[in-house]
């Protein structure tokens, strides 16, 4: 196996009152799309800026392409960055923007023009070289920003939430385009975002970051189906969260009762003993909704509830229930069969879920009292 393009080894960054990046180690394989996913303030921007070289780590080391980047200035690193606000140079034409890095490397003018035009061609902007930056649409600017970096053939391309400023439709489109660009160039991408859908769609591997640490590092499928911490379960994808105390364990499964007496069963993640306070996560699409108990799978524990509201969103439609006894909210994805299209608020329904597809964790400190 070739050397990874990016290796972070126990990287630490402290600011006056808090640790932004807390002894983080990971590596990114050559040619892969790696995302760092986390809420704002989790330290992901700090991490990216350390990789780019704009801030120096307080401890640990970052190696790019097998070489330590300690004391290497940003303009000497084999890394380029696509900024959140793109930072295209308004005083230059599109072609000059793309050729800027080549000019700094002393590439002769004719060669520069040839290479920047070829790069613009590849990102589908073959005739835009003479345009001004402000004549381009949001998506076109995005492509110029990427072309400007990729023309330098960096070992690593860093992307700092580049889709954040775009409207939803364009964002969906650019997601696909980014993935195709990455596949066709084969450059290693390190992408930071707070949008879990971007991270899941685009990445080969995702690191979920919180408070300066990776909660979990894995493929998008791992994060979604096999979350290892309550934070990941809560942050990646929609999830119903139920807090309660373990009353009974049975092999891989545990039975949990909430303080107000709702009993659910879920798969144990880590060591969980009777009496432990745990958080249970159930994905909306795992639960099955029915109008009568007869329609539910016979081997699953049954629950009943009352429709609170129907959340219609095309293929992502869901229904928000209140569990019959405890009035706790529970969200279930509606199947696409149209079977529940006439569902009304206050209607009484039943639901169940496969306990082996729900997961429970020992509750995080301080979260035991909060209810989902």
């Amino acid at each position: 196996m070739s050397t990874p393009d990016l290796v972070a080894d126990a990287v630490v960054k402290r600011f006056a009152d808090h640790v932004a990046v807390d002894s983080l180690s990971f590596s990114v394989e050559r040619g892969s799309f790696f995302s760092i996913l986390g809420p704002s303030g989790c330290g992901k921007t700090t991490l990216l800026r350390m990789i780019a070289g704009f801030i120096a780590p307080d401890g640990g080391d970052i190696a790019i392409g097998g070489k330590s980047m300690r004391d290497v200035a940003p303009n000497r690193r084999p890394v380029n960055m696509v900024f959140q606000q793109l930072a295209l140079f308004p005083m230059m034409s599109v072609g000059e923007n793309v050729a800027f890095g080549l000019a700094r490397r002393g590439v002769p003018k004719a060669e520069r023009v040839k290479r920047s035009n070829a790069m613009l061609e590849r990102v589908g902007l073959g005739n835009a070289a003479d345009k001004r930056v402000d004549e381009l649409s949001g998506g076109q600017r995005q492509r110029v920003a990427i072309a400007r970096s990729l023309v330098l053939e960096p070992t690593l391309l860093l992307l700092d939430e580049p889709l954040g400023a775009l409207d939803l439709k364009l964002r969906e489109h650019m997601k696909i385009e980014l993935k195709q660009l990455q596949a066709s160039f084969g450059t290693t991408f390190v992408y930071i975002t707070h949008d879990q859908s971007e991270a899941l769609v685009l990445s080969d591997h995702v690191g979920v970051m919180s408070h300066g640490r990776f909660e979990q590092l894995g493929t998008p499928q791992d994060l979604y189906y096999r979350p290892q911490t309550p934070f990941v379960a809560g942050f990646v994808g929609a999830n119903n969260r139920i807090v309660g105390r373990t009353t009974h364990t049975d092999g891989a499964l545990a039975e949990i009762a909430t303080t107000d007496g709702w009993v659910v069963r879920a798969l144990k993640s880590g060591a969980i003993a009777v009496g432990d306070v745990v958080e249970v996560f159930v994905r909306p699409e795992v639960a099955i909704l029915a109008r009568s108990a007869m329609e539910l799978p016979p081997d699953q524990p049954r629950h009943s509830g009352e429709v609170q509201s129907v959340l219609f969103d095309g293929a992502n439609s869901a229904v928000l229930l209140q569990e019959a006894r405890t009035r706790r909210e529970f969200r279930i994805a509606l199947p696409q069969t149209g079977q529940f299209s006439d569902l009304k608020p206050q209607e009484k329904v039943v639901f169940s879920f496969d306990p082996s597809r729900a997961v429970c964790f020992t509750a995080r400190a301080g979260s035991a009292g909060q209810d989902a």
């Binding site: 940003p74 000497r76 890394v79 960055m81 900024f83 930072a87 295209l88 140079f89 890095g101």
Partner: protein, 294 residues
């Protein structure tokens, strides 16, 4: 009349006219009228007591007498040098205020630049004289440090005039530079570094093009102030200053030759206009853009 009172469009125009009236009055009465009068003055010649004829004699005298156009050119050259030095000195100051100092430190630095202007220009210039004259502070210090054997007269030199002019003009360069540098997005600088540019390349290809309107505005203001300055060159340069505004003063006040003085005034106006246009051409800026950015 009634219609005008009712129609909202007329209201708008009336309000605009009233709002503009003080400015138009000021422009007309204090700038255009005197200049028209001066223009008429400069284009006549006295042929006898209270007898004048129209002629270009005043302008001919200027070109015929080497002293006049020598002083004229010298004033222009020193003003250009002073403007350039002011720019060199003001740029780092503006950079620190706009980009490096945070919050209150920036305002504090700005106030430090402003404070000297609370004192009148005369007093400030006299301060320089106290520092620089032969029996002054700086020559005494040089002797004490053993750098010169005798106290040196530091006044009445071209360099002294330049120091005074730069000092007087600094604020007028710093203000437009700060505002144009503040509007420069820091990520553009980071992006330039990220793409492999060093400090100089970033300055040349990102910072200066962005700040160009501010730089041009500052240079125009400083150049005009310097060219038309009377006090600083006269006090710091003494008899050697040979500043063109002194020639104008002499014609009006000492010689009582208003016709000649008016002609000189117009020549100075033509000079500053010509150089400003030249500067705009060279920097590729448009006057309207520059003034809007200031």
């Amino acid at each position: 009349m009634l219609k005008a009172a009712i129609d909202p469009r007329w209201h708008g125009r009336l309000a605009l006219g009233l709002l503009l009236a003080p400015a138009l009055l000021w422009l007309g009465a204090l700038i255009i009228l005197p200049h028209v009068d001066l223009a008429v003055l400069s284009l006549r010649e006295r042929v006898g007591p209270r007898q004048y004829v129209a002629s270009l004699a005043q302008y001919k005298t200027f070109f015929a007498e080497p002293l006049y156009w020598h002083v004229f050119l010298r004033t222009a050259v020193i003003s250009v040098i002073a403007t350039f030095l002011t720019l060199l000195l003001a740029f780092p100051i503006a950079w620190i205020i706009a980009k490096l100092a945070r919050g209150r430190a920036g305002s504090l630095l700005f106030i430090i630049c402003l404070i000297p202007f609370w004192v009148s220009e005369t007093v400030r210039t006299l301060g320089w004289m106290i520092l620089l004259r032969e029996s002054g502070v700086l020559p005494a210090l040089l002797v004490k440090l053993g750098l010169t054997a005798m106290p040196v007269e530091l006044l009445y030199r071209d360099a002294t005039i330049l120091v005074g002019l730069v000092y007087t003009s600094l604020l007028f360069m710093v203000v437009p530079l700060v505002s144009s540098l503040e509007s420069l997005d820091n990520t553009l600088i980071e992006a330039a570094y990220d793409l492999g540019a060093g400090g100089f390349a970033t300055l040349r290809s990102i910072v200066i093009p962005h700040a160009a309107p501010g730089i041009t505005a500052g240079c125009i203001v400083v150049f005009m102030l310097t060219l038309g300055n009377y006090l600083t060159p006269t006090l710091l340069g003494g008899k050697n200053s040979q500043w063109f505004t002194e020639q104008i003063y002499t014609q009006f006040i000492t010689r009582f030759n208003w016709e000649q003085g008016a002609a000189f005034g117009f020549l100075l106006l033509a000079l500053s206009t010509a150089l400003v246009i030249l500067g705009l051409r060279l920097s590729g800026q448009r006057f309207g853009d520059v003034m809007r950015r200031t």
